[in-house]
Amino acid sequence: MTADKIKKNKKFSAFLSLGVILFLSLLLTIFIASLLGSEKLSFFELNESQRAILFDIRLPRILVGACVGASLAVAGASLQSLLRNPLAEPYLLGVSNGAALGTMLAFAFFAQIEFARPIMAFAGASLATFAVYQMAKSRAGMNTERLVLSGVIVTTFLSSIIVLLTSLLDAAKLRSFTFWLLGDLSQATKNGFYLTLLVAALGTIILSSQAKALNLMMTGERDAFDFGVEVKKTRLIVFGTASALVGISVAASGSVGYVGLIVPHLVRLAIGSDNRLVVPFSAIVGAIFVVLADTIARTAIAPRELPVGAITALVGAPLFIYLLRRN
């Protein structure tokens, strides 16, 4: 065995154990989160209603939160690599708003059909992604400013449509929507969990499978092409999958901001920028982040609740500034 190979094996096992540790901490976080809540539960002697609270209300919500966190973090990580832009984030690019608008339209016109919301959210997210991309790209390529500006334009445009729509709905519905728009997990259900889990898992696997191509895309589209990456195909897969991930998250919990920004950056700081690691690790860290944030949202002013998006933004924005300064 050459010294080179030993070194690599060491590195490999280090990453593997980091992955295992992260996963165990996710399980631990979920466990601790399920102990905390507006109702005190002692785990060993649960009566019927306590069992219902834990298994029908609290745990589905925690697990939906984990899936939402994973989805948004993975979507953010891959969009950043694809667009070669550290600020690419579903919320900042307007993709979340597209999904939110889709969800609201589904709510207004197809309230009876349960699957209309995630599907319309996906459609909205895809359209917003497409719009931002078309606006941002130019003959000279795509620079950061152009992308961020396009994101701002799409975000504000969609926001104004959302505002128009909410003022057409009656006052009571409007209030519950404003809460939901800020990111709110209180409507999580078991059925919702199965769907978000399915999409989050598939999305993470698909985007991880594109990791090699994404690594090459980070050096530039032309270089990637020279290395044999099918640039257009990769772009389509990443945009489509990221839109599905954002769509399902927004349909489940509204726009939870900053997750797709903070989590991948933290992961890259820790383990470098190889997407084969960044994408799956972001999924786990994103899940932990949102579960923690939602635990605060559920317990801080119990029995009342805060929107989880306010917590992620509160933690996320300063952390992001810190990260920027450290770089």
Binding site: F12, L16, F23, E48, S49, D56, L59, A172, T189
Partner: protein
Amino acid sequence: MAQDFLGELWVSAEKSFSQIFVVIGLLFCVFNFTNCKSENSTTQINLPTREITDDLSKQIKLPAQVERAVSLAPNLTEIAFAVGAGDKLVGVTSYCDYPLEAQKIRRIGDTMNPNIENIIALKPQIVLVSTASQIETFTKTLDEQSIAVFVTNPNSLDDIYKSIFQIGEIFSREEKAGQIVDELKRRVAEVEVRTSTAKVEKVFLQISKESLFTVGKDSFITDLINRAGGISITSNISMAYLPISKETALALNPDAIILSDSEDNREPSDVFKDSSAVKNGKVFRINADLISRPGPRIVDGLEQMARALHPESFK
């Protein structure tokens, strides 16, 4: 070489990842199983024996005696106490401050964002809800726990009587509910007789000053104004509560302004400073709790409103 290593790494990462999801899936299967068991035993305790219909025309199954109820609106809490069933309330919202006894009941969040964990822990047989505003997943979750949800949606004084009857029926207090409604009707009739000959005043009802909100056709407050010998100048708008532009409000030039009196609604909007209401000093404050809660105290609000608009009729 490097590619090999990372490829290897990816394969193992993928493996552990798929295992994660299998574990979570298995966990969930276990939860579902334990839960099926518990649902069977709950239905035996609360065997529903009668049915009532709520304001959404939904059939609600109820046990013969309702012993545990949660109220998600202050007016419903007031009605429950009025019919003598206050002791059956095990949970109320943070807005439920009347009567005083209601303040001792467990708080379960506010009307728009009730805490579902707290509600289930209280094991209510029925949850009383004031409008269809509740998000449908909320109702669905309670349904799954075999907790009945009763929705009231009063748009007029007659609807408020109906709410009182319905809540009387829920708590098997029909007789008391009937007495209350008869008494309220008697007081309303007296107000109507006294104001019947008075000049009808054009009233602007200000719900909030900044931003300017008022009531439309679908609000029970519009009905209240009519019975107090006035007419709401915004009653042609078919909504319950609505924001109104300052220009429109200025052009309305009301004879009288009634303020739903609360901390941020003590003064009429500046756009009314040249209106005949302000010039003639016809600006009245009525406690918001009296006119905005469709419960028994609404008639107190009506009486105050009628006296304010037509003092000459109450001499």
